[in-house]
Symmetry: C3
Subunit: 662 residues, 3 copies
């Protein structure tokens, strides 16, 4: 990795200790420290009184040791003097209670006073530290988003109304788009309009999510503008979460930044979701490498402490997927505070023990191999998996989201490709589809005409599209379209969706008065399939559609209830290409078969390996990571291993081992 | 059915669409639309400014098509201008937060301002539409009750105190009746008295429920008075829920109305509870047929979408039980709002598909057969099953309700008769028992002297009474009587209840400090029975009583713990009749045996059928409904089938089929 | 027992009934009534107007019958006039809502106005009743503690700040001790400091608990001072809960009182926890007998109603452990109020039935045998089990408490001794260890130097110490020490704890955004042991430490994950004694083996009996209680039985029987 880092809190530890810390860092081949994201009280101990000498000394000492600094604005945790002098800067929760001091991320992101303080401290940091040679770049805030809920203060409500006025112009238009006639919800005065969650209009909830995302993006934009003005040419980033972090549209956020950065405390139980996170972060800024700003060397985000070998296998997996910085959280375990049990690289005692040894070994190797991998060509998958924030929010805002978790649905589809070692790119509707051979569309109720046009063109030229149910059935305001889905795409898929039914429908609070929910059970009707692989049977779940063919051909038919005999899976040829449409949510078997069916004639090949043994091609190299404790042999055509052991047409990997061949 | 209807929302859909809707309705033999219950904003877009031309046009167009209108007052969903101009009309929840606009049923039912607006809109509707020939009748509000909780605003608190003053006269009397000396709760000023729920006095909680029920009944009475005055002779109804809706005393509510109307989204899993609902609604106004104002053709209140045949079987079951209107909710699935996934008869697209076809087939048949069934004699069961709102609330207000859910207890008993195809009537203590041969008393802790007198008389004349435990042990204020139960009825049952014990007693919040509740398990001690059917063993649950015989004879004795050998089931002969008393809550086997025992010498006979195959006699006809997907044959003596197939002494029914013989 | 009592509520029942009650009490050998704890409204019906004649009559009538009165101050349940005239006396919950009248324990314990009323009523009671000969003693309030939550009103917040100022002097020192630099929490004005719970600093939460305990102790101290001044020489007590009641430091509370009193509604399912409660209460005031102020004769605190024999076995178990008063809650079941289903000795009817008969039999026997046991020497166990309130609160306040419930951890260890019939004393760090042969230290992260010194001395002189993990790793402010544990005790145990890991680590709210907690599972790595009993294998859980030997010897080594081969259990000889240290939380097998190992050479012997058959030596007697329904024979060396049957070297006990031999 180019950057091998740790989060460091010099303001927390005695300054006498710094030299020893830097000595140990150097020994562990650490060349970057991430500093400052919670240090506001140390930087500005009283309103307008800055105390930055310590940070100058830190820059100097690390500079002398050849260590760069990724400097964070401290705006995630305002000091007590700020929020006690200006209580309106504190977030108000949906139940009307205002957060109090003692936590983090408890500020109102739209508050003008708070934003002014944030601009001022950012400008001050630029002024003081912008010229240091060992400044790696700027890092905004920390994990932007609603860790402490979203703000519903009256100022945010007013901002929301202003935002709506910009979007809809008039209250009449707003009522028309939200379709507020149901239950007499129609607004007759702007002052009646408020953000909504819970059991409210799906259309209102969707715009609430949009506004709240925009508020954080706008908050970040202000700091970015300050830095751009004062430190031209400096790299700017902020750390995101994932995979597929719902609260903020990361495509909007990272569009203004130079690096997308992930905080990813890998979950050993499911490497697939971790790989998806890597691919997602790579996609936020496709033209640049991405950074891992936080990952753990010990017990942090999950129950299992990683073995040293696992740390290495993960790092190689990320490297293969375009990662350029690997930064552990954190240098030393804190003695106090909410996270006193989250382990750093050093122990409470400050001594280097097991985790230090593992990090040192990893970073020494990553430093050695980096020159070979620094200039690899970008990752270029042939499979585009569609993801869209509007649809994510729409799902959550509508009742369907109680049945089909959008994120989980996408993770399941991604997993089907991950298990076959087929590289995937996250494709958002706003981008082009030219590079793909196969486009996979998870349930996507809201489809804009531009994206529909791209899909027609993509298939006409020979591409394959695999779509899941509930396609193109809603308008951009999260209301159903008064038409037969997939609206605007029926000709592409050769079918009409006449209707459909939930296999376990959600009911409102009224009915629940006498039908206890816990009596409900899911139904999993069957489907009979005639695929390339032969005839077979599978089961569906959650939602089944009533499909009428209109040019397409049924590859699968329902075998249960009143839908028996109706089409469940439809194939259609359009132009030089082909589409596949699934009329119900598939159980895992069916999902796998549909992926295999979709791969036909795309030139994309599966590479079967034992579970959690991962193969990632990148340029002339192929990276093989064994995320299991058991040794494996992977047959693969190559010339030689540049990392690990390759002989007789097989890569040989011990437990948690890595092999890179070319 | 006389009325075949749908809920229709002309104010929601473009007026250009109405003609097509009416055409499709006519084709589906729909002769009634229920209109207006959420249309306030369309009727009165600003305070005092009415806009009712659209509704006149709707009356005219439907009238021309031979379709009647059931017109609803729109008071379930006040417009935004009303609640924003008069925020005091919004309900205050128990935690002190006030509801906001964007939902329904969020008004304070006692608020004078709100009530005035309701009177005004009701009067306006009467004035404008009272004279239409195709006006079927009036429908108050929608699903009155605490969908959004009950109101605890200061105005309601004051009304509650006024209500208490009317009930008790003085604070001294209130303290005496509530017995407030425990924990020094005694009130010394009226201002100290507030509604109570949760971990409070059972006596105070009972009166809180009484008042809250009265508040809704009084709310409905105001609208009723307006309509009675302006539209003499018009039918008035309002839609209730069930079975056995707890929040409002429906006997009080429907006493002032002309039709009891049910919203019943049948639960396929348990047809018994649905049948109980039919019998309950029939009983609210015994002198008139009852209406089904809402039922579903698709996915609404439960997980399973009904087959077309199931819709038909349900409708016949209700028809046999006295139903006169069958009204689907709703004509077309709404595109927006909280219920956008609750399916109407038409699809989002407005096209008639599966559900329309099913409804059309059903209504065509119901139109054809109705003349034959229109004038059948009323249903006249020989079994009276006692139900009482005061006891329902008392149960919920006291700790016993955590053990024995009153409604579930009654449903279990009803089910024992349903399974034997024995018609049951819901008997309330205020009515006469003359028509019954058997009276069944679920746990009824509060028994007034008048009802006790009726029971003595009923048994003296030869009737049979079967009683469950916890009979006549509390006073009307939900306090235990300082005497041995069943107080006032010991002579009838030939026993004294000396004491008793919970088999899994509830403990208060204090003890729970160190005894985690999840460690508790239920005990199910045994009982040995000597019945007409022979000697057998069964188990009891929840609560067992310490019975001392006083003239009665033990048919069952406990076989477990310190109660071993004591009477558990007691038979007593009184006058020409007989009583049976169960000293503990029975498990299902025992419940069944007790029902069989109670039927002896009553002349009532069981008619065994396979599960969920239902037989309902009505006048000269017998209705047989097969609620299962499997074909069945039911041996029955009849002359001919007027619906379905009857031959060789057997009715033959396909899956979900119906047969009516005479 | 010296005192055989019932809780009696003469203010609740008609005075005409008292004579009958006293007659029945006398017949049941009751010689004590506990009176007054909820009678404030009867004692002071309006502010400053006392009405105590009824209580004088009660004293007189009971005195004539030879029955003593334990008189309670009524301060657990203020009358409505008090809290409505002075609403600031009502507790404010953490969410900011103020409690309302109608419950108990809903007052603010620091409120000056409330305290003044409490002083006044206490003084009045002393003045009126202090001279009665049949006054057994004084009882403060009822079950002091946060039954209704803790108070967070602004007055308490101010008191908390004053308390902190007393503790830390300056804000600088407070920031230094709490280590507030993390997340910029540092306080710059006293007004910013508030009590904290939930996801806040462990250091702040610990002091919040300390303050809240002190508040109740101080509340009790005010009443105590009034009584001490007015009624010199009178016994004073208050009823506590247990075992090991967390909210109030009972060592502080009982230090000022004359008797420690337990409310213990025995849990038949686990007699071990009940025995622990007895031992804990005996230890609060080691120089005096302890009292059982509340226990149940029927269904109260658990699901099972005790058999008459069980009541007797429990009472003997407590007697053997030093109990002097046995007081049932309550005389007669109340008809009204929150506890109307909690059974008293008499029925609702006021008649004496099953429970009365059991109590009468028990008290008759206890009266008869008491003279023999009245002057037994104190209980003197050789095993000291360390318990400490600061550590209890620290556990709960830190994340570790989500893994290892401190109380449950101690109960498990206690159980290992209980099962072996080895008497245990609860040892607090402030007391001496001289009487013990074995000291057992449950996880004790905070160890002060004085206690460390005692441990060194104890082992040097030949004692054995068995310690569990997480010993001496935190400072008194609940922050981790920047050193290797056990800090200050490494030389005693011959090891250093370099690090460690949770086997299921807790993660913060941020990470939980994408890693659902319900996916977590526990790991139970293995350990291989070489003990006196031979070589064996066991499993650990929750937390495992990375031990480096420094003089000690590994009796067990880890066999799993990256810790394989490292020491898990360490033995060390120091002076004439020996220590054993467990580096991970043990599963039950391992816990048992470690106890056996620790007993070697201590002279303490196990006495194996069937489960729940309990043997307690006391002076020249040995008490044997059979808490099971099955008859047992217990081989034991004795001369004769003074209660029960002893012959041929065996005590013979029927189900729930008792035998006392000497």
């Amino acid at each position: 990795m180019k950057y091998r880092g740790v989060a460091y809190y010099p303001e927390y530890w005695p300054e006498e200790r710094w030299d020893e810390d830097i000595r140990l860092m150097t020994e562990a081949r650490i060349n970057t420290v991430r500093v400052g994201e919670f240090a506001w009280i140390a930087m500005e101990p009283a309103e307008g009184r800055y105390a930055l000498d310590w940070l100058h000394r830190l820059f100097e000492k690390t500079g002398e040791a050849g260590i760069g600094v990724l400097l964070c604005t401290p705006t995630a945790a305002p000091p007590a003097w700020l929020t006690s002098n200006y209580p309106e800067t504190l977030m108000v929760q949906e139940d009307g209670t205002r957060h109090t001091h003692g936590i983090r991320r408890h500020y109102c992101p739209t508050n003008r006073t708070y934003r002014n303080f944030c601009r001022a401290i950012t400008a001050k940091l630029c002024e003081e530290f912008g010229a240091y040679e060992n400044l790696v770049g700027w890092h905004l805030d920390n994990e932007l988003g609603p860790e402490r809920g979203r703000c519903y203060c009256e100022h945010c409500q007013a901002q929301y109304r202003a935002w709506l006025q910009g979007r809809y112009g008039s209250l009449e238009e707003l009522n028309r788009r939200w379709q507020t006639r149901f239950w007499s919800v129609e607004f007759t005065d702007w002052a009646q309009v408020r953000m909504a969650t819970g059991d409210r209009y799906p259309s209102i909830k969707l715009d609430t999510r949009r506004f709240q995302s925009d508020a954080y993006v706008d908050f970040a934009a202000e700091q970015t503008a300050v830095i751009r003005e004062q430190c031209q040419g400096a790299l700017i980033t902020t750390n995101g979460m994932g995979p597929l972090f719902e609260p903020i549209n990361y495509y909007d956020l990272y569009a203004m930044l130079d690096r997308a950065s992930a905080d990813q405390y890998f979950d050993i139980a499911d490497m697939s979701a971790d790989a998806l996170a890597c691919d997602a972060f790579r996609g936020y800024i496709p033209s640049a490498p991405w950074w891992m700003t936080e990952t753990g060397s010990g017990a942090l985000s999950n129950d299992k402490v990683p073995e040293a070998g696992q740390l290495r296998a993960w790092a190689y997996s990320a490297l293969a997927r375009g990662c350029e910085m690997w930064c552990f959280f954190r240098w030393r375990t804190a003695l106090s505070g909410q996270e006193q049990e989250l382990q750093g690289v050093l122990e409470y005692s400050g001594l280097p023990k097991r985790r230090y040894a593992a990090v040192k070994a990893l970073f020494s190797e990553l430093e050695t191999v980096w020159p070979r991998f620094a200039d690899l060509p970008p990752v270029r998958p042939k499979v585009g998996l569609v993801f869209d924030y509007t649809n994510d929010w729409a799902y959550r805002a509508a009742r369907v989201g109680e049945k089909v978790q959008y994120k989980q649905h996408i993770e399941e589809i991604y997993r089907a490709f991950y298990d076959r070692n087929i590289p995937v790119e996250i494709a958002i509707p706003a981008r082009e589809l030219d590079n793909y051979s196969l486009v996979v569309i998870p349930s996507l109720p809201i489809v804009d005409p531009a994206f529909a046009g791209k899909l027609f063109e993509f298939v006409a030229k020979g591409g394959t599209v695999l779509s899941f149910p509930q396609l193109a059935c809603r308008d951009p305001y999260n209301n159903y379209l008064p038409d037969e889905p997939p609206v605007g795409l029926r000709g592409l898929f050769g079918l009409r969706v006449a209707g459909g039914m939930y296999l376990r429908s959600y009911v409102g609070p009224d009915e629940a008065l006498w039908h206890p929910k816990d009596k409900y059970t899911d139904q999993t009707p069957g489907v009979k399939l005639t695929l390339a692989g032969g005839e077979t049977h599978a089961t569906m779940r959650t939602w089944m559609e009533d499909i009428e063919l209109d040019g397409g051909r049924a590859l699968g038919v329902y075998t249960d209830n009143s839908f028996t005999g109706c089409p469940a899976v439809v194939e259609h040829h359009y132009g030089a290409g082909r589409t596949l449409y699934l009329g119900a949510y598939p159980n895992p078997d069916l999902l796998g078969w549909m992926v295999e069916e979709a791969l036909l004639n795309t030139g994309i090949t599966s590479l079967p390996t034992p579970q959690w043994v991962e193969v990632v091609p990148r340029g002339e190299y192929t990276f093989i990571m064994n995320h299991t404790p058991n040794p494996v042999r992977v047959p693969i055509q190559a010339t030689e291993a540049v990392v690990g052991v390759y002989a007789d047409g097989e890569a040989s990997l011990a437990g948690y081992d890595v092999c890179v061949v070319r």
